[in-house]
């Protein structure tokens, strides 16, 4: 009986341990998205985890990447449309724009020119950014859609596919 109790306790402990460890981060759908802690053009730090509760599109882009710049127009439209929407897995929609930039002026100019009114952060390390490594970015544009708890819903969707994925999570 004692042996059984011991075995049960061990199993239970193992279970708790796995549950604690069972939040793999990494770029697999359903995994928790790696934390990002970067600064805005004004020097304020905004973490990705501070957006908990919202559906978030992490948009990796650069002013030197023509398709990324073109996409900002479509992102502005999506942001306006879904910003205050309620989703099954988040309340409100936010874009966390991570710019792979080397210098601030180009980035600031494009934010103003494109009237980007969502979060913009960068470490100004261009392709040397640790975030590019953490998210295993191979090329731009690249994005990750996460739910209110930070779990990855989709990767690298653009245009209609991206909007469909956001729409799928809407409370109708």
């Amino acid at each position: 009986m004692r042996i059984f109790a011991l075995a049960f306790a061990l199993l239970l402990m193992g279970g708790i341990h796995s549950a604690l460890m069972a939040q793999p981060t990494g770029l697999v759908l359903g995994n928790k998205s790696p934390e990002i802690k970067l600064t805005t053009t004004k020097g304020d730090t905004i973490t990705l985890s501070s957006l908990k509760g919202k559906l978030v599109l992490i948009d990796f882009w650069g002013t030197w990447c023509a398709p990324c710049v073109e996409e900002q127009v479509d992102l502005a439209r999506l942001y306006k449309k879904y910003k205050l929407a309620s989703f099954t897995n988040g309340k409100g929609f936010e874009i966390y724009g991570v710019a792979l930039e080397a210098k601030k002026p180009n980035w600031e100019t494009l934010i103003t020119k494109n009237k980007i009114n969502w979060i913009q952060v960068s470490d100004l390390k261009f392709w040397r950014s640790p975030v590019a490594k953490a998210y295993n970015i191979q090329e731009l544009p690249f994005n990750v859609l996460i739910d209110g708890k930070g779990f990855i819903l989709a990767k690298n969707l653009h245009g209609k596919e991206l909007e469909m994925e956001i729409g799928k999570n809407l409370i109708k």
Binding site: A102, F126, W127, E139
Partner: protein, 149 residues
Amino acid sequence: MKTKSLTFLLLLVVTSVFATTEFSCQGQSDPWTPQQLLAPADLAKVLNNPKAAQPIIYSIGMQAIVKGSIDIGPTMRAENLNTLKQKLGKLPKNSQIVVYCGCCPFSRCPNVRPAMELLKSMQFTNYKLLNLPQNVKVDWIDKGYPMSE
């Protein structure tokens, strides 16, 4: 009806001919030869060997990432191309020169062509383009090749 179909077919043929011509022209217009592409592994080997003759390396993109490279800035901008021109003007024509950008594939990069055209027009004889087919992260940083401080 027949005339309409014929016109459509003709239009299709003309369009496809133009499309092909444009495509092939784009390929031919690269101002470098395959022999002028320098493999990253080869440059890394030279950089790691202090006894080897070191080339002059210019970063003509967003950031000087390769060890020892000189930051010119994106040569799609006239002022940066001019900076490169001035620096090159002081060098012998047979100097060993390497340029790289690494923002994105050559087909999308706005910086490699102006720089390579400049080197060609200035009649340098020993210059290469660092072959970063995807970008400087995938083809240099991720490979662990030497980087600037």
